[in-house]
Symmetry: C2
Subunit: 305 residues, 2 copies
Amino acid sequence: MQIDEEILSFIDKIDAALQSKVELFVDSSTSDLVSKKALDLIKESMNYSLCAGGKRIRPLLLLEIAKSYGADLNLAVEFAIAIEMIHTYSLIHDDLPSMDDDDLRRGKPTNHVVFGEDIAILAGDSLLNLSAEVMLNAVIKHHVELRNLKAMREILKASGPSGMILGQVADIKYHETEADRVQLDFINQNKTGKLLTASIIAGAYLGNASEDEITKLRTIGKDIGMLFQLVDDVLDVVGDEKKIGKRTQIDAKNNKCTYPSLLGLNETKKIIASLQAKLLADIELLEIDKTFLKSLVTFLATREF
Amino acid sequence: MQIDEEILSFIDKIDAALQSKVELFVDSSTSDLVSKKALDLIKESMNYSLCAGGKRIRPLLLLEIAKSYGADLNLAVEFAIAIEMIHTYSLIHDDLPSMDDDDLRRGKPTNHVVFGEDIAILAGDSLLNLSAEVMLNAVIKHHVELRNLKAMREILKASGPSGMILGQVADIKYHETEADRVQLDFINQNKTGKLLTASIIAGAYLGNASEDEITKLRTIGKDIGMLFQLVDDVLDVVGDEKKIGKRTQIDAKNNKCTYPSLLGLNETKKIIASLQAKLLADIELLEIDKTFLKSLVTFLATREF
């Protein structure tokens, strides 16, 4: 994937940036040792999942788009950190015993396996709360401007009960073998697509994109989300556990409806190829340098991990 | 308690206001019946706990203080709704089996008893997410101003891992019979005190309070939080289950350290009386009409439910 050098340096330092944000924001005046332990425990649990080495697709997308449209990168980085916090919180909660009951994530034991269910729930809550704090603080510090608040709203709307959480509810309740294509699309667009799209749209708002560009970007974001999920489903069937860093064949084991189980592996691969072509054509119509987005799409369509 | 007529009419309508906010914000385009069911389920679960009839102390505090300092009440109401959403989410998560494992709240079965643990966790997440959306939208709609963003920051800081969540972590991990006064104060200040204080400070920022007034209000907020908790602990020992709307003797059953268990019932009552006196004196120094705050303190100190 062709990533801008400046953005690459931010992504390389994202573990450190996430941890220092936790250190900066999570504090409480106490000289009592027992209270200090509680503070250290919640920070440790948050950092454990933040630094478990994800793909950082969302911060990458946000930063590249923000830069393309001329945003202040010092502000955009704060939003990139916030969106990764939201993504991480969603993974912690999704993995809980009462949800997907996963014990392995990114090659490491899941948060509740290490810290217990109670602390895992609270670490997730903390990351969601902190993400809003980080964005708001960044706006207050940099520029109290409508565009920046719209960027924040875009992310919050996508992560909430009209977006990611709704997708998870639909996934839990209705993601059964008899789900049809419409339902599967609904689950994936909400659970995965909207936050990926919000990474793009927030970046565009932080920059100076016109409403016309933003409309085009919404379609591109939706298709990138779909592409991402289609490939994820395929990898769960044919992927190498060591490369992906999570257990495969999980969907089949859980009897879950996926694109391959619904449409077959070949048909799914065909959809991936045509979605890739559509995306490359749509990206061509944007006003910005297309190098990153085009290479991202190719990467996503052909990734093995 | 002497509540301003205009504020009383807002509080009387808060159930409807909370529900209409959920209806307005939680939506997703779908014509699919199964997807619609997921949407209805998460809304139903959120509304169930929002409308379970709490005391609405936080919205009341925020609105009264906001009005005292001359805030736009149409804006303040949105913040009042948001803070009640945060309070409700914290109750849903605190009641979970892996946390306090409570089956009764405000006289009704707790959220997870009705909707299951998975949906209860997601309804809590939704309410936290939605609270930030509601505040942000209100600022965007009314006045994009630094004071209003500071009000929002005050609430988010208080509800997060430097505030309410930290208090819950400390409560879970260290709230054992051997906790001392310092630790008990730490738990209560974080778990209860900071969000109550934030209701006051956010109201003051939405109005036009000087930094000097805000400093005074921080002390008053902290003491109101402490008063609230002291009386709550006493009610758990001597209160009437039907009046309070939740089970009593829970602390003793769980072997939890409380003010009465640590200091004895009489000593706790003495602290309540002296805190009440200190609060009434401190409130006297404010620049605003003191009627509401003084009657609130007397109500909190002497309430039976």
